[in-house]
Amino acid sequence: MASTTSQHDLTGLLRAWRAGDEKALAKLTPLVYAELHRAAGNYMVGERSEHTLQTTALINEVYLRLGAFQHIDWQNRAQFFGICAQLMRRILVDFARSHRSQKRGGGAAALQLDEALIVSREPEADLVALDEALNELAGKDSRKCRVVELRFFAGLSTKETAHVLQVSVETVMRDWRLAKAWLLRQLEQQKSHEA
């Protein structure tokens, strides 16, 4: 059975990666990417109203689907969330990018991507622009970039983020606050340049 193979793969690969085998990550990534992509895709084309599924639940589900149920090991899981956060970023940004080009290519002038993505409670969240700004932030301070990935793309709480990064909750809170301020300013600057 295919999933049995991947179960062993996942646990073994996570362990190998933890032990310092970088090749394990290269093998792991496509596996996780495929499952995550499918789960996220199902989510996004799902019914909009009354959706209670959370990102973390989705990642947990992917983890369970890939991992053997009896091997719920928090260290593995933390590490797994670390990988998923980066992959979710890739999936969602790619999704936003393709959606934008579709709309532009199709000549549907009605909506700009930012209008489509920004819900009232969000001051500004163009995923593609955010992705670029995050790359810039990573150049300055990679940990802050990871905090944003874990919190925004993987939906983790401050505490869980602290666990994955093995830093204190206070550190995560400080990083998060500065990263948000920095990213927001960056996006605003970019927008005013475009305008």
Partner: protein, 949 residues
């Protein structure tokens, strides 16, 4: 050394945030000390920070998922083409099998149990039709309450993206609708099909479930000729006591259910349906099978309705003279306009169909061949026809214990379990706590002498989920499952043995959990305690732990290995413990196991009386039992052999299958009261005193203002009784009702709510404290565990099955629908008296579970860490609201403890004797008294001697 600019920005940014806004300019002026770049960078960030509060706080996926303009399912259209290849829940969808008004069916693979199943989704065009969703749920519930070889098994109901689907048994073959297209069937085929449908209806009607839509498209025939009734989609299951409440909800749909050409007159007129409605529909099906056309063939609906109501259909023999006259009269009796003139029950119809001379083809056969074929050939042909007949209908099924002589072996006080019998039928072994600890006991039948073989030397013998005791083939040793704990606390499972006549226990099969010797003693089947219970087969001289013959999938167990008498198969019980199990068998050489039963309940202790006759214990889906069942393994029709209050807890058979031994248990529950101090200070603990009741048993006690409520068995169900001023009144009782989780009294003491399981469904009831005005306030949830009344009196909180996991829901009492409250494993809640938070139990992990809490708004609330042991679980607050009372101790024996939730201070408030097992408790409204439910399991070993065949 000068820090790099970014870390300086970071440092100043955070320092500035600590400073009051009005002081920030001055602070920056001073701190940046002329570094203008640093200052403007920090100022810009501080300005952004003010606007960034909500920025990125909703996870990206949820933002995208909610964004307008994203492709939605509604627009995607070709879902039928999209689903195959995808995975929903833990099912991989393989292909579309068919579609109809009630949904689209796909073939799918259950990735968890590694089996093929059918998934039924609602039709694409109607995903938001609430009545269809409800209908689908009703179908799942009604059908899962039925467990019958001629009713398509419903494994599960699950949901994908808010869209429910049913997981069903995957059937091969075709529906009768397709079969009829090839022309009329032969009489014997019609009778065969009729008997199987009749048996399905008999089972459904016995549970008050009316199918209401019997038609050829809903009847499936497998290549082996087995008939399966599908689509209990319109089935109406009404517990007698809820009829009034529910009828209102059903009133609207009533006229529209059913399929017109097969509808009975009373159904058409909306006069209410009964078992006889299904019998009419069955008559139309038999008519169509016999003649190739429907009894009322009109295509235009008004004409068709007129015919059904007033016109007699042509006699079947006019259309097909080959039909025997008696079959014709059976069909016409089903089609009587007045329900009074039809068969009143499926059983009567079955009787007529079964009494039909099976070889109905013989006359034609004889006229052609009488003078050509020797008589012996005719007899042989008749035997073959009769054989085929029997294979499909079990006309001659005989109750294997019908003439058994019952005898009590033990009548000790206390609990006996895990009965075993030696091959020669002379010795019986069992576990008993007669001397205090659970020990292995043995008796030579007829001697009246009982010997304790282990005398407290082997703690940890009981394991109700496997065959814990056995005899060596020569009866010289009694073997027992034993978990040996070493000093370091790790445990080691092995089979041990002690001489039947007494002696020192020694390991028998090390590292083995269960075993069975083949009848000739040449081969041993055994499993180790490893994951999936790997099953090995070896010869008598050597063990080979190298290659298991079978290993259960992850998370499942495989116990109770049992050789067939001719060694052709090894039977075993497989599934999820403790109550999602079935009997399977596998060749001793390995291969794919074959499923024998389909109870998906607590199935334990299989024994074989001969090559075909399987006896085993199985519980019903409502949790009643386990009962003794019998099945012919070639025909696979389960027959329940016992009923009543006794539960069977173990079963064993002698080698010749003529002597059985079993343990029967009767749980007894009594109520006790005990004064307590409403404080956390240690006090003396007094002994409880028994509350005298007018009923023999009492459980789930709850204290209201000046009254005591409790649950009592009525013989046919359960009731709620109220004890007040020394008088007892029955407030509510329900036929076949099981009241679970205990009743709950409203904060003002004026009303009572309780959860009931009836006919395989669950209902939350509400009534006045005097028992009047009982009504159902929730019938759409699959309730679990205890309900709790919110302190404002406006809603009731209870766990309900949410995709297989219990989640807490709030059920408003003003008629609004229930709402999900806690979205993680949560059960058995208790509200703090001030209504600010609710405490509940988390999932069982191993033998423990933890308590958790959320605020009324649903935010997590910290609690002092409390990890409790499986078994009885109940939580209650002392009136002050700070102190929570809970049960702590071993799996069976627990005491009441109280914890101060602010300080974490704990105190034990009862010191109950070791034989006092608390099942449930409650605290009086003034906090000065507790009532306790005491559970005493009385059980005995019984012997069944079957007459020689």
């Amino acid at each position: 050394m000068k820090p790099d600019p970014w870390s300086r920005v970071e440092q100043v940014f955070h320092l500035a945030l600590e400073v009051e806004e009005s002081q920030r300019a001055a602070f920056l002026e001073q701190t940046c000390a002329g570094d203008g770049e640093l200052r403007s960078e920090v100022e810009a960030l501080l300005a952004a920070d003010k606007k960034a509060e909500a920025f990125l706080e909703s996870p990206a996926l949820e933002v995208i998922g909610q964004a307008p303009g994203m492709p939605s399912r509604d627009g995607s259209g070709a879902e039928e083409d999209r689903l195959p290849g995808s995975t929903v829940s833990h099912y991989r969808i393989l292909e579309k099998l068919g579609g109809g008004g009630m949904g689209i069916v796909y073939r799918a693979q259950d990735l968890r149990l590694n089996r093929f199943v059918a998934l039924k989704f609602l039709p694409q065009e109607a995903p938001h039709d609430a009545s269809l969703v409800e209908q689908l749920r009703r179908e799942a519930r009604a059908a899962s309450a039925l467990n019958h070889p001629h009713i398509c098994t419903v494994h599960d109901i699950d949901e994908q993206d808010g869209r429910p689907f049913i997981v069903m048994e995957l059937l091969e073959g075709q529906t009768l609708k397709h079969r009829i297209a090839d022309g009329p069937l032969e009489s014997k085929e019609i009778i065969n099909v009729g008997i199987q449908i009749g048996e399905a209806l008999e089972a459904a009607h016995a549970r008050d479930i009316i199918h209401r839509d019997i038609k050829p498209a809903n009847i499936f025939v497998t290549p082996r000729g087995q008939v399966k009734l599908l689509d209990f989609g319109l089935a109406k299951s009404l517990p007698a006591d809820t009829a009034l409440t529910l009828t209102e909800n059903f009133a609207e749909t009533r006229a529209f259910v059913g399929t017109l050409p097969y509808m009975a007159p009373e159904q058409l007129q909306g006069r209410g349906v009964s078992a006889r409605t299904d019998i009419f529909a069955m008559g139309t099906v038999l008519y169509e099978l016999a003649t190739g056309r429907r009894p009322f063939p009109e295509e235009f609906a008004p004409e068709l309705a007129q015919s059904i109501l007033h016109k007699q259909p042509p006699r079947p023999r006019e259309l097909n003279p080959a039909i025997p006259p008696r079959l014709e009269s059976i069909i016409l009796k089903c089609l009587e306009k007045d329900p009074q003139n039809r068969y009143q029950r499926a059983q009567e119809l079955l009787q007529d169909l079964r009494s039909f001379p099976p070889p109905s083809a013989i006359p034609a056969f004889l006229t052609r061949w009488t003078f050509l074929v020797p008589l012996t050939a005719v007899v042989a042909a008749m035997a073959i026809v009769a054989g085929l007949w029997l294979q499909k209908t079990e006309y001659f099924w005989r109750n294997p214990i019908g003439d058994a002589r019952f005898q009590t072996v033990t009548d000790f006080d206390g609990a006996e379990q895990a009965a075993a019998i030696s091959r020669d039928g002379h010795f019986v072994a069992f576990l008993s706590d007669r001397d205090g600890p659970t020990d292995v006991w043995v008796t030579q039948l007829g001697s009246g002498q009982f010997h304790n073989l282990t005398r407290g030397s082997a703690p940890g013998l009981a394991n109700p989920s496997l065959r814990a005791l056995g005899f060596s083939p020569d009866s010289s040793l009694v073997t027992f499952w034993f978990r040996k704990q070493d000093a370091a606390g790790s445990s080691d499972i092995s089979v041990w043995a002690v001489p039947t006549l007494g002696g020192q226990p020694k390991p028998y099969l090390e590292g083995v959990a269960e075993y069975d010797w083949s009848r000739d003693g040449s081969r041993l089947a055994y499993h180790t305690p490893g994951p999936g219970d790997p099953l090995f087969v070896s010869d008598s001289t050597q063990r080979s732990d190298i290659r298991p013959v079978f290993t259960a999938p992850a998370g499942l167990h495989a116990h109770f290995q049992l050789w067939a008498p001719d060694s052709s198969f090894i039977y075993f019980v497989q599934g999820a413990l403790p109550d999602k199990l079935d009997i399977w068998r596998i060749s001793p050489a390995g291969g794919t196991p074959e499923r024998i039963t389909s109870h998906t309940s607590r199935v334990i202790y299989p024994v074989l009386l001969d090559r075909r006759t399987l006896l085993y214990l199985a519980s019903d889906p409502d949790g009643s039992g386990p009962w003794l069942y019998s099945m012919n393994v070639e025909r696979r029709i389960p027959h329940r052999l016992t009923q009543g209050l006794d539960r069977y807890t173990s079963l064993a058979a002698s080698a010749d299958g003529r002597r059985l031994v079993a343990t029967l248990a009767t749980p007894k529950k009594t109520l006790w009261r005990l004064p307590i101090a409403d404080s956390l200070a240690p006090t003396d603990v007094s002994a409880p005193t028994r509350i005298s009741l007018t009923t023999s048993t009492g459980s789930s006690p709850r204290l209201g203002p000046k009254y005591l409520l409790y649950v009592s068995a009525t013989g046919t169900g359960e009731s709620i009784r109220k004890l007040s001023n020394e008088t007892t009144t029955e407030l509510w009782s329900g036929h076949g009702a099981q009241i679970f989780g205990g009743p709950v009294i409203s904060p003002d003491g004026s009303a009572i709510a309780f959860s009931v399981r009836q006919q395989g469904r669950t209902f939350l009831y509400l009534m006045q404290a005097d028992g009047t005005g009982a009504r159902v306030v929730a019938n759409s949830l699959d309730l679990q565990g205890a309900p709790a009344w919110a302190p404002d009196g406006q809603s009731i909180t209870s766990a309900a099955n949410d995709h297989g996991v219990p989640h807490l829901f709030r059920v408003p009492l003003d008629g609004r629908s229930p709402a999900l409250f806690v979205q993680e494993y949560s059960v058995d809640p208790a509200w703090a008296p001030d209504g600010r938070f609710i405490v509940y139990s988390g999932p069982d992990i191993g033998t423990t579970f933890s308590l958790k809490a959320v605020t009324a708004e649903g935010a997590a609330r910290p609690l002092p860490a409390l990890t409790l042991t499986r078994g009885a679980r109940r939580l209650a607050f002392l009136p002050g609201g700070r102190a929570l009372v809970f049960l702590r101790g071993g799996i069976q024996h627990k005491n009441l403890w109280v914890i101060d939730l602010e300080t974490g201070t704990e105190r034990q408030i009862t010191k109950l004797s070791p034989d006092f097992d608390v099942g449930d408790f409650d605290i009086s409204p003034d906090g000065r008294e507790v009532v306790l439910e005491r559970v005493q399991e009385r059980s005995d070993v019984v012997l069944l001697d079957l007459p020689q065949l």
